[in-house]
Symmetry: C2
C-alpha cells in the first residue's frame, strides 16, 4: 500500500497504533481506506479481529514494513490505518469551541476528553492546528473517529448558527469561578490558545468563567482546563448513575 | 560548562527553556548549579533578570551553543539550567499519590496541576518513571521546583507515616462518583499506572472513587483524571474568592 509523509493538503491521514485503528474500524469503517500490519506484529487476536472487520467492509489489508519507516518513526506502532478525511457538520446541542488551538497533541487529548464526557461536537476557529494531523489522531486514542469537528471562519459565524447556545468563555480573569457558575444547556465551552488564552473581547460574548488556581503556576495546561470544565458541566448528567 | 546526556544515576538534571529555568531561579536558586544561554538568545530582558539572580546567588552563567546540541534536540530552547537533584520529604497534609506512573510527560503535567491547586506534596510508589527526568521537569513548566516528591518503597510505608490521611483511590470501577463523594482533609488522592490503573486490592484501602465517563473511551488520560480530582477536592478552598 502506498503511503507518504503526512501533509495537511492530502485527502488522507493516518491512524497509528492498533488501539487507534480499532476505534476507526469499530466506529467509522466507511472512512478506512486500508490497514497495514507490521510483519512483526504478532497479536493473533487483534489481527483476526482486524481481518474480520476489513473483510466485512471491503477494506484492503496489507502486511509490509516500509510504511512504518515512513510514518511512525520511533513509536511502538504495529498497525497503520489509512483514513479518508471527511469534513463534519456540528449538531445542535452542547459544544466545545477551540479558538486558535496550536498544539496537535493537545487537540487530540481534548477530543478524548470530549468523547469521554459525551460532548461529540467541537468547533474550531482558525488559525488552528490541523485536526486531521496523525499526531492529533493518535493523542485522541481514536476518539477522533467519534467526534464531529467543524472549522468556522470566525467565532461570529459559529454563533450565528448556534444562537440558542449559552456561551461560557474560559478566561484567566473570568469574573466567576467555575464551581460557582451554573452551566446551562445547550452550552458552548470556549477556550483560547495555549500561550495567549482568549482575546479580551471574548469576555463580552458570554459569562466569562475562571478555573481558580494558585499563583504557583501561570495557567493550567489547555486540555486539563478543558477537561475540568467538561467534568463540571456534565456531572449533573452522570450523577445518580453510581 | 560541561554537560552530558541525562542519566538517571546522575546527581544533576536539566531545566530546558527560559520559563522552566526562571521557575528554579525564583523559587529554588539553591538548586541551580549553573545557567547556560544560547549564543542566539536575544531576549535582553530575560538575560538581564537571569544575570541579576545568578549574581546575587553566586550561580555561574555561560554562553555556549554545544550544550544545546547535547541536551535539547529539536526543541525551541535557548536557556538551560543545571539543577542539583535533591530528595524531598513529604509534609503532613493533602497529598497526591502516584502508583507506578510510567510516563515522564504525564508526571510533569501532574506536578503542574498539583502546584496549581496548591497540593505541593506528591508520593510516588515504584516502579515509576524518574521524576527528575528533564522531560518531566519541562512538562511541569518548572512546577518541579515547587513540589516535594518522595518515593516510598511501598504504599504501606506511605500509609504508616500518614495514617491520619483519608485515602481516595481513583479506580475505573470505583463505587462512588467523584461528584457524590465528600473529600475530607487531610486527603490522599491515589492514582495508578496509565495503562493498567490501580491494582484491585487498592479498593480496600479507602473509598474508591470513579470519574464517570461514557463508554466512548476506555479511560481518561492520567493527568486529566488527576487534575479533575484535584479540582473537585480543592474547590471548597478556592470558593468565595471570586
Amino acid at each position: 500500500m502506498k503511503v507518504s509523509r503526512y501533509k495537511k493538503e492530502d485527502d488522507i491521514t493516518y491512524a497509528l497504533g492498533a488501539t487507534v485503528v480499532m476505534e476507526y474500524l469499530n466506529n467509522r469503517p466507511d472512512l478506512v481506506e486500508g490497514v497495514i500490519l507490521h510483519p512483526k506484529f504478532s497479536s493473533e487476536d487483534t489481527i483476526s479481529r482486524i481481518g474480520d472487520i476489513c473483510k466485512a467492509n471491503g477494506i484492503t489489508v496489507a502486511t509490509e514494513e516500509k510504511p512504518f519507516n515512513i510514518l511512525s518513526q520511533k513509536e511502538n506502532c504495529f498497525v497503520i490505518g489509512v483514513i479518508r478525511k471527511k469534513g463534519a457538520s456540528l449538531k445542535a446541542g452542547n459544544h466545545v469551541v477551540l479558538v486558535n488551538p496550536s498544539n496537535a497533541g493537545n487537540m487530540g487529548t481534548i477530543m478524548r476528553s470530549c468523547a469521554g464526557f459525551g460532548i461529540l461536537d467541537i468547533a474550531v476557529i482558525p488559525p488552528a492546528v490541523d485536526h486531521f494531523d496523525p499526531k492529533t489522531v493518535r493523542a485522541s486514542m481514536g476518539a477522533s473517529a467519534r467526534v464531529n469537528i467543524e472549522v468556522f471562519e470566525t467565532f461570529d459565524k459559529y454563533q450565528e448558527r448556534f444562537s440558542e447556545n449559552n456561551i461560557y468563555p474560559f478566561m484567566l480573569d473570568g469574573s466567576t469561578l467555575l464551581q460557582d457558575t451554573e452551566i446551562n444547556e445547550p452550552f458552548s465551552l470556549v477556550f483560547g490558545n495555549e500561550a495567549t488564552g482568549l482575546p479580551s473581547e471574548y469576555s463580552k460574548i458570554g459569562r466569562p468563567v475562571r478555573i481558580e488556581h494558585t499563583s504557583n503556576i501561570d495557567s493550567l495546561n489547555l486540555p486539563i482546563a478543558a477537561s475540568i470544565a467538561l467534568y463540571a458541566s456534565t456531572k449533573k448528567i452522570f450523577s445518580g448513575k453510581a
